[in-house]
Amino acid sequence: MSLLSVSNLTKHYRRGGTTIAAVDGVSFTIEPGETLALAGPSGSGKSTIARLVLRLIEPDAGNIQFKGDDFLALNGAALRARRARLQMVFQDPLAAFNPRATVARVLDDPLRIHAIASRVERPARIAALLERVGLTADLAPRSIHEISGGQRQRVAIARAIATNPSLIVLDEAVSALDVSVRGQILELLLDLQARERIAYLFISHDLGVVRAIAHRVVLLDAGRIAESGDARAVIDVPQSAIGKALVAAAPTLNRTHLQDAS
């Protein structure tokens, strides 16, 4: 049984008299411990899918099964409890946190809400979480805007793994980071996946990163699936027009192709 199974997901936006299909009949599945990448040009519906899967917005049609349950049927307290298993890391690590928060408070919230640790146990849990993402415990009392972008994204990952999720949606999670930090964060993600069998829904426009981290890829164009399959196979030999365009537009990728050929 798939961990997440999305079928025929559709979301329309109405502007004036016209209807725009942000997501149009998209279906895919994610297995436990697997990374599925959603790639496509901007406006292709990647982030809308992320928000639909997390129930941040409601779909117009379609079905989402998470761990065998109808995820769209959950509401209120049942939905909030289920959210522990399905987490998200945002693109902009500064915007993803309350500007008034400290690192400790950010990590305290999920532990408190899902009753994972008692009040006295939480400081130790927070320290352990920080260490799991490669940070030191002395960062806990610092304010979110006092730490670097890379540290912030590590805190975001620590918040996401605090509830022992089965799936983390990474919405352009490394796009806002500079190149050296990006590699470290990707390694951290791969390491967490290897140790804890967390599945990722990895949303990115960067095919180089997708090829390095994802098992399978779904290429989106204007809200529809253009192509899907094994990440390396699809990116090395794209069949669809949008796939070819995306590969051609990725400069680092072209260079590796040239090196492979020579």
């Binding site: 941040l56 945002f90 915007a95 500007p99 919230d109 999920p110």
Partner: protein
């Protein structure tokens, strides 16, 4: 420069702070400097100011010490002004946050109620409320707050509407936070600065409304108020104008002080926000 330095650096803010400081001192030390009932008779009636140094500001129609009344009146003015403004800001912030965050029917209902309150002149509302419920300090505070909460509510709603689309609110939902906790712990604190910017105007208006209510005889009859003093002096306005002028000046200075100091706080906070 520390925030306090920056705050006191502007001359108009400094003036406001000094006026407010004096006012607070008057309110605090009123019963120390003028023990006993300020409404007790202290000397001959209608003694003009600066004639008898034991009664420096003279006496009113009944021979009560004007200076003692002024000091005790500062208490009422400040207490009512601050309490009414605090109540108005609290109600406004809560209503605005709920309306902006919940959206839909809740938003419509709350904002139509706000509209209804806003269409009735706030002074008329306060007048009607006190007339019906009866004059006491708590009722006067409630009456003033009733007409003043709509402004903060609108500002809070507008701010919440922009904040609720931010990623950190989505992040709070993703970790399973209860919507009420998101509204009041994640959204409201970040929506507060522009709401608090209204506080100086609201406090000043509340002090004036309280004075106007007392002037019309709808203040707490057991307390000295500046508005009540002005009303008392009205009957002898030609022969003893100081009875109305002295509390009048106190009122003007207080409103000015509150406004200047309040604006200073807002400016300082704005600078700090843009620096961080």
């Amino acid at each position: 420069m520390s925030p306090l330095n920056r705050f006191l650096h502007r001359p108009e803010t400094l003036a406001g702070a000094i006026i407010l400081g004096v006012l607070f001192a008057m309110a605090l030390f009123a019963s120390l400097l003028f023990p006993g009932d300020p409404q007790a008779i202290a000397g001959p009636a209608l003694l003009p100011p600066f004639h008898d140094w034991s009664l420096p500001l003279g006496t009113d129609r009944l021979g009560r010490d004007v200076l003692a009344e002024l000091f005790h009146g500062a208490r009422t003015s400040l207490a009512v002004g601050l309490a009414a403004a605090a109540a108005a800001l609290l109600i406004g912030a809560v209503v605005g946050t709920l309306a902006g965050f919940a959206g839909g029917v809740v938003d419509e209902v709350l904002m139509r109620i706000t509209d209804a309150f806003q269409t009735v002149p706030s002074f008329l509302l306060a007048l009607a409320f006190v007339s019906v419920v009866g004059p006491s300090l708590g009722v006067v505070v409630a009456a003033i707050a009733l007409g003043a909460w709509t402004g903060p509510a609108r500002v809070a709603r507008a701010e919440v509407l922009s904040i609720r689309e931010r990623d950190y609110v989505a992040g709070a939902r993703v970790i399973g936070m209860h919507p009420l906790e998101i509204a009041f712990r994640e959204v409201l604190p970040n929506a507060l600065p522009p709401v608090l910017a209204l506080s100086s105007v609201i406090v000043a208006a509340a002090i004036l409304t309280e004075a106007a209510l007392s002037f019309l005889g709808l203040g707490d009859p057991n307390r000295v108020t500046w508005g009540g003093m002005i009303a008392e002096g009205r009957t002898v306005l030609r022969t003893a104008p100081f009875l109305s002028i002295v509390p009048g000046i106190a009122l003007v200075l207080t409103v000015l002080g509150v406004y200047l100091a309040g604006e200073g706080v807002v400016e300082t906070a704005a600078v700090r926000r843009s620096l961080s």
